[in-house]
Amino acid sequence: MKKVYPDADAALEGLLFDGMHIAAGGFGLSGIPELLIDALVRSGVKDLTIASNNCGVDGFGLGKLLDTKQIKKMQSSYVGENAEFMRQYLSGELELEFNPQGTLAERMRAGGAGIPGFYTKTGVGTVIAEGKEVKQFGGEDYILEEGIFADLSIVKAWKADDTGNLIFRKTARNFNPPAAMCGKVCVAEVEEIVPRGSIDPDHIHLPGIYVHRIIQGPHEKRIEQRTTRKREEA
């Protein structure tokens, strides 16, 4: 089966439907699937539920899907970088399910590993625990969290081979592996598709079994907070 597609629109063809659940990789603007997000905007698919740690910024990343009102609900841990998000949320146009960051990552990982639920200490005694089953282990309270099973995963990696084996780069890895694992279909965008055999099998971060379609493209890779030090401080 050929996994390499010519562009993001072609790679999403036949996968999209209104009301679908999408898991997206990325942390802040680092390692986000920016080409696939642009293609989602062009597709016009709507009423999306998106599991993603953040929701981009105004006008970039998942923020573009807010501008076009294609998102119905976000499952996120932090959405503070986005004025349009706040506006839609406060006006009731957008649903928000806050997840502690580690709980969100584990929900994706669990979904991808066929685990429908797990117990965690995170959020015990807070609003996050409301309505969730509490169970004691060793005298301590844990809450039940459910695995995420998405219709589609969209992720960004550094390199892929044509079988979908992926390598990520530095902290751009973040949510991409667990997001990739939890979808029925995973589309990955990469900076470079390299020949089969050119990646050391011991150095593959995510095996190609999780990746169904691949595109290569130029990425803007915007920096959210540019912080530097002066040379004389060295």
Partner: protein
């Protein structure tokens, strides 16, 4: 009443760290703690997927693929390792991180912490804070003792939505250091120029 400034609070918080520790530093004053670890062998975790966080890059060397949990550009060190978010919070939840030093809006005398939400005003999200306070070995809060209206942030009970229940071990403020103990808070240390009377007057929580 003098007390400590931001840098002095960070320097005092750095004394909490011991050689060999893996540590997570929150945003704000906690970030400054890294400037005061001296010769101690401390490995900083960034919960977006990195152990061994280095300083900010030189101008022109910023890498969009290398950021910290505050989304700031940073650098790597010779000891650095990278991993995905599920692995990162696995080490947090699994108790592998020795300590977290975090900011706070309110702390209560039973160790309750509120630092993520002001209903109706600030709705940004908890990020990794709930996971950190539930999982790490020791939670140290660094914050101003009072808010901008002069009201105590060290309370009998938190008024804001909690980040964690009974999770704080030690509080370092501009006025001194407190430990969470059975029955309330115990004064461990007073900041420079602060009397115990002044400290008590600025504190709503029960001091034992």
């Amino acid at each position: 009443m003098a007390g400590w400034d931001r840098n002095q609070m960070a320097a005092r918080a750095a004394e909490e760290l011991e050689d060999g520790m893996y540590v997570n530093l929150g945003i704000g004053i906690p970030t400054l703690v890294a400037n005061y670890v001296g010769d101690k062998d401390i490995t900083l975790q960034s919960e977006n997927g990195m152990l061994g966080m280095g300083p900010f890059p030189y101008e022109g060397e910023e890498d969009p693929d290398l950021i910290n949990a505050g989304k700031q550009t940073i650098t790597e060190l010779s000891r650095t390792s990278y991993f995905d978010s599920a692995t990162s919070f696995g080490m947090i939840r699994g108790g592998k991180i020795a300590a977290a030093i975090l900011g706070a809006m309110e702390v209560a005398e039973n160790g309750d912490l509120a630092n993520w939400m002001i209903p109706g005003k600030l709705i940004k999200g908890m990020g990794g804070a709930m996971d950190l306070v539930a999982g790490v070995g020791r939670v140290v809060v660094v914050m101003d003792h009072t808010n901008k209206h002069g009201e105590s942030k060290v309370l009998k009970e938190c008024t804001l939505p909690l980040t964690g229940r009974g999770v704080v071990d030690r509080i370092i403020t501009n006025l001194g250091v407190l430990d969470v103990v059975p029955g309330g808070l115990k004064i461990v240390e007073l900041a420079d120029g602060v009397t115990e009377e002044e400290f008590r007057a600025a504190t709503e929580a029960t001091l034992v």
